[in-house]
Amino acid sequence: MEFSAPQIAHEVLWPAYVVFGAALLGVLGEAFLPRRRRFVGQVAIATLGLIGGLVGTALVALDLPSVGSDDVAAYGVTTVGDTVALDGPTMFLWGLVLLLGLGGVGLFAERRLESGLSAFAGQAAALPGTEAERKASTEGLDHTEVYPLLMFAVVGMMLFPAANDLLTLFVALEVLSLPLYLLCGLSRRRRLLSQEAAMKYFLLGAFSSGFVIYGIALVYGFSGSMSYAAVTEAVRAGDSGSVLLLTGLGMITVGMLFKVGAVPFHAWTPDVYQGAPTAVTAFMSAATKVAAFGATLRLFYVAFGSERWTWQPMLWVVAIITMLVGAVLAVSQTDVKRMLAYSSIAHTGFILTGLIGLRDTAEVGPAEITSLQAVLFYLVTYSFATLGAFALVGVVRDDSGEVTAMARWAGLGRRSPVVAGVFALFLLSMAGIPLTAGFVGKWAVFAVAVSAGAWPVVVVALASSMIAVFFYVRVILLMYFTADPDPSKAGSADVGVGGDAALAGASSSTEAERGTVTVRSRARVADAVRVETPSLATVVVIAVCVGVTVLLGVMPGPVLDLAGSVGTFIR
């Protein structure tokens, strides 16, 4: 057998190289930069790398060759032996992920809230509550490795939606996941909770990755190839009822649904979102979902597009229970981060609703929105609202750090009208109130789903939106119309960590208790919740999110057009 080196289209791949290079440079910087310069150096490397990637993406996107037929526009190339597809949707998602990465760097670099320290543990290896930990924080140690980690995650997120081959898909999945597992465990405050979150995320992630690789093996067994093109061929030609194919498809789907947080693969979401440092949660909740939905879209539309009639009903079921469970569970949350986590689960359901709206290109009228376009647009609206909302959670604090117990947010609107107003805006957008970005996004995905005949899903989606409005509005009412809580009682509202029903796992629960008891008793003597002025970077991130949310509500046209003009996936 002769080995032929694959052709690599460097001229299209280079934005990814820039980001990857910046990540590697970050590792080197960690080794060679003196400690006090590391922070500035790492932030600079990461920012420049991401901006470089962003500029590159724009340049490349403008120059993609057209490969579509007359009635179906498509642009791009497949490269590296057809394992990577660089087409319009990929470029759109790259741009989005890189923007969110920039937002993540901005939030990671926040050092004003903790009086000169970052939100990350001074020394991750030090046991919580030990002398070593105390020493690390008094010396002002800081893990600047978070920036290269973020960059590696971004590289994975760029590769994920571009994957045009099952193995590349798996590699990208792992590349984006591993840094995130680490990042989740690096919180400076409430470290046990954070470490527990990281552990859970890792275990469950590994578990679901196992299913993915097994599914890939089964699909390979069916089609004899890893590449999407070959899988499509095999599906078209072969027996569509093959148990091998269907089981394989199902297992790969599980990995995708796990990453996007669809029910019943969502259980990690609230615990991880709550435990991870808020900056990480903000970045992860937005960017991971974007990348994972990008990959899911390509997987279903390209590799299994002709098997649509089989997987659509399955996704109907998943979308319906995801929306309902997300919305219903969000109602009873008492913690802002957990509430946002459940809301993000509900949004996963809404995006799946758009994904179900896939139709043959011949069926879609010229003036109609395609399901790809709707999902891409929804991802933009969702990711910026989520990034902004979590960023705001980070600035509402008391002496013990962030205040996430919802009861203590009461009356925030009176004391900090701007923060409360902006948070209300994000919530309204997530609720899909007209003239915010969320409304247009919802409208787009529901419209495509109805066009594809998935009206039962849309009815459930509307019902879930109805329930969802209830808990979003409840937070707004709490901020504006409820009197300030009694500070002596408020501290005890800070329970419900680790799990909804009980505190975390048996072994760690006592430790978690110990960890939070001190926090809580301090909160009791501490003064009330306050909004602290964050650094410029955080302010800019929040401002951009506000801008996007308002602009896309009033003038969604340009972005909607952009999402439409990227063309379809190339095969």
Binding site: L246, T247, T253, L329, L435, M466, L503, G505, S509, G557
Partner: protein
């Protein structure tokens, strides 16, 4: 908009083509004064923004600013109306695209405004009555330290309501629809320190979401069917869709209308909404917002005309509601709740007319306007009575107030005469036309409407007697007095309008005015002269009034002590039960019905609503237990999920 071009024929040519022609919305590009129509919405909106963002700095003059913006909007409305009067019929529809809201390729949703004969009438009603209520609130809310906020919400409401009626697209209408819902929520719950007010606000919110869901599904379906949701686009091609689709859209629109307009089965929130300040009840829950459902049905006439089944359902819902509301009106002692029941019932009349199709649309709007006048008048009158009676709402603690507050009494009395349809008052014309049309088009509905008119006569007379006549039953501390001029002036103006509102029907003006929007029905050859209908209706009403007079007015309504706890009070109350039996006898065997209806209202419907939210809370709590924090259970859930996903795939593929 490719669809608009299909509508080559203008409204006139369609109307000219015969009675069955359904007019197409085909507005001219607004020029001159009409291009200022956005100011109608922008003025009160700016008021709301200034008051909400201005904070305490605006406390001193905030209420004046709020009132001024509303009046300014009204002034502009009148000016545009006069301008429009001067134009020929085919020039009266003006469209204005503020900007392209959603554009994607060749697909566009504009942020469109539409000012046509229908919307201008609503503009006048909303800003006119709204301004009077702003004025009235200056006095009514004088002692409330959150008055500025109240005016901000009122302004917000007016802006949202104007958005609703001025939108040229169902999406824009939906924006206003959500906006009035939000403003109504804020205003019902304005006295949030009262748990009942907070609960009522929540209830209204929840029930309205059900209706909103119907509306959003309808809009979604329009997009899918017609590729557009603009009035112009949909009306041009509505006839081409299948009847099943149109019926579905119609029923979904009706669901939306039921929520907003408190029609059975989504009526339960309206009575509780009376927890809000009285001007709110007058503005939102009598004159404007609750009529949005009627507006929706009339505006979507191009859908309903092509969907006869949906129209029939509208008629059924309307008939049930108009009786239901009237019966509730008989059973309540709380003056505002009687008026709320009556509002439900009157909106039922409007819905009935709207459900009758081309023959009825104009009368629906006519009754909507006259009702806006006399019901706002009576709500504000009730507020004036409460103002003088230390916020007492129980009519059993009123009595003989006609001397104490003469202006309120006279103005309220004029409103009363209007609502029962006393000859030549506004309600006489508007309700007569509806009953008459109903009898001709759909006799069953006509008879229901006729009976409803009799019951209306009964409960309104009972209200009048118990409040202004009979014996004094005041609380000891009560010193009934007339309200200040800012409150009585609106009463006088509205009373005058209640009396003379009927002029709109002179030589069928409103019919011809609305014809470009809703079409013109063929003239029926009446089996009997119209005067016969009027006489029959008046006689039925007279029977209701007489029954009330003999059974309530001729007996002493027992005086009652103000405290609810002393044993004396209970004894006094026992006497009142006698009075309740009186009522029961009046309705005769229908007493069971009265109780049944009120009971159903209180238990079943409330139960469903509250049960719904409790249910979700409970479900939420139970589901929460699955989220126990243990990785092993999460992993088990994933495994279960794998089985489900693979299972569904296999079942779908192999079954």
């Amino acid at each position: 908009m490719s669809f608009v071009s299909v509508a080559a024929a203008g409204p006139l040519s369609m109307a000219a083509s015969g009675g069955e022609g359904i007019p197409v919305v085909d507005p001219l590009q607004a020029t001159g004064a009409f291009s200022l129509m956005w100011l109608l919405i922008a003025l009160p909106l700016a008021g709301a923004v200034v008051l909400l963002l201005g904070g305490r700095a605006t406390d001193k003059w905030g209420h004046l600013l709020g009132t001024a913006t509303s009046f300014a909007s009204f002034g502009l409305g009148i000016y545009l109306f006069v301008e429009m009067l001067g134009l020929s019929e085919e020039e009266r529809q003006h469209g204005l695209r503020l900007f392209d809201w959603i554009t994607a390729g060749s697909f566009t949703v504009g942020f469109d405004l539409l000012l046509d004969p229908l919307s201008i009438l609503f503009v006048l009603l909303i800003t006119g009555v709204g301004s009077l209520i702003h004025l009235y609130s200056i006095g009514y809310m004088a002692h409330d330290d959150r008055r500025r906020r109240f005016f901000a919400y009122l302004n917000l409401f007016v802006a949202a309501m104007l958005m609703l009626v001025l939108a040229g697209d169902f999406l824009g209408l939906f924006l206003g629809w959500e906006g009035v819902g939000l403003a109504s929520y804020l205003l019902i719950g304005f006295w949030q320190h009262k748990p009942s007010a907070a609960a009522a606000a929540k209830k209204a919110f929840v029930i309205n979401r059900v209706g909103d869901m119907g509306l959003s599904l309808a809009i979604m379906l329009m997009f899918v069917t017609f590729g557009t949701s603009s009035f112009a686009g949909v009306s041009a091609v509505a006839g081409e869709a299948s009847e099943a689709t149109l019926t579905t859209i119609g029923l979904l629109l009706l669901l939306g209308a039921c929520g907003k307009s408190a029609q059975v089965p989504l009526q339960a929130w309206l009575l509780d909404a009376m927890e809000g300040p009285t001007p709110v009840s007058a503005l939102i829950h009598a004159a404007t917002m609750v009529t949005a459902g009627v507006y929706l049905v009339v505006r979507a006439n191009f859908i309903f005309e092509n969907a006869p089944i949906a129209q029939t359902v509208v008629v059924v819902v309307a008939c049930v509601t108009l009786i239901w509301g009237a019966v509730i009106g008989c059973a309540r002692d709380d003056i505002k709740k009687v008026l709320a029941g009556s509002t439900m019932s009157q909106i039922g009349y409007m819905m009935l007319a709207a459900g009758l199709g081309t023959a009825g649309y104009a009368y629906a709007i006519f009754h909507l306007i006259t009702h806006g006048f006399f019901k706002a008048n009576m709500f504000l009158g009730a507020g004036s009575v409460m103002h003088g009676m230390d916020d007492e709402v129980d009519m059993r603690r009123y009595g003989a107030l006609s001397r104490a507050m003469p202006i309120t009494f006279v103005t309220f009395g004029l409103g009363y005469l209007a609502i029962i349809g006393f000859p030549f008052f506004s309600g006489f014309f508007s309700k007569d036309r509806i009953i008459e049309t109903a009898l001709l088009e759909n006799p069953v509905a006509g008879v229901a409407a006729l009976i409803g008119a009799g019951v209306t006569g009964f409960y309104m007379t009972r209200l009048m007697l118990m409040t202004y006549f009979t014996n004094k039953r005041w609380a000891e501390k009560a010193h009934p007095h007339e309200s200040p001029a800012t409150m009585t002036t609106p009463l006088v103006v509205l009373a005058a309008l209640s009396v003379f509102g009927g002029v709109l029907i002179l030589s069928d003006w409103i019919k011809y005015w609305l014809a470009p929007v809703v079409g013109e029905a063929e003239e029926h050859s009446m089996p009997v002269p119209p005067i016969v209908f009027s006489i029959v209706i008046t006689v039925v009403v007279a029977i209701g009034v007489a029954l009330a007079f003999f059974l309530v007015g001729r007996r002493d309504v027992p005086r009652e002590a103000p405290t609810d706890v002393s044993p004396l009070t209970r004894a006094a109350r026992a006497d009142l039960y006698g009075d309740a039996i009186n009522e029961g006898l009046v309705v005769g065997p229908g007493r069971v019905l009265v109780e049944g209806v009120t009971l159903t209202d209180a238990k079943v419907v409330d139960g469903l609503v509250e049960g719904g939210s409790y249910g979700i809370g409970g479900l939420s709590g139970r589901l929460r237990r699955l989220q126990n924090g243990f990785v092993r259970s999460y992993a088990a859930a994933v495994l279960l999920g794998v089985l489900v996903v693979v299972g569904v795939l296999l079942v779908v593929a192999l079954a």
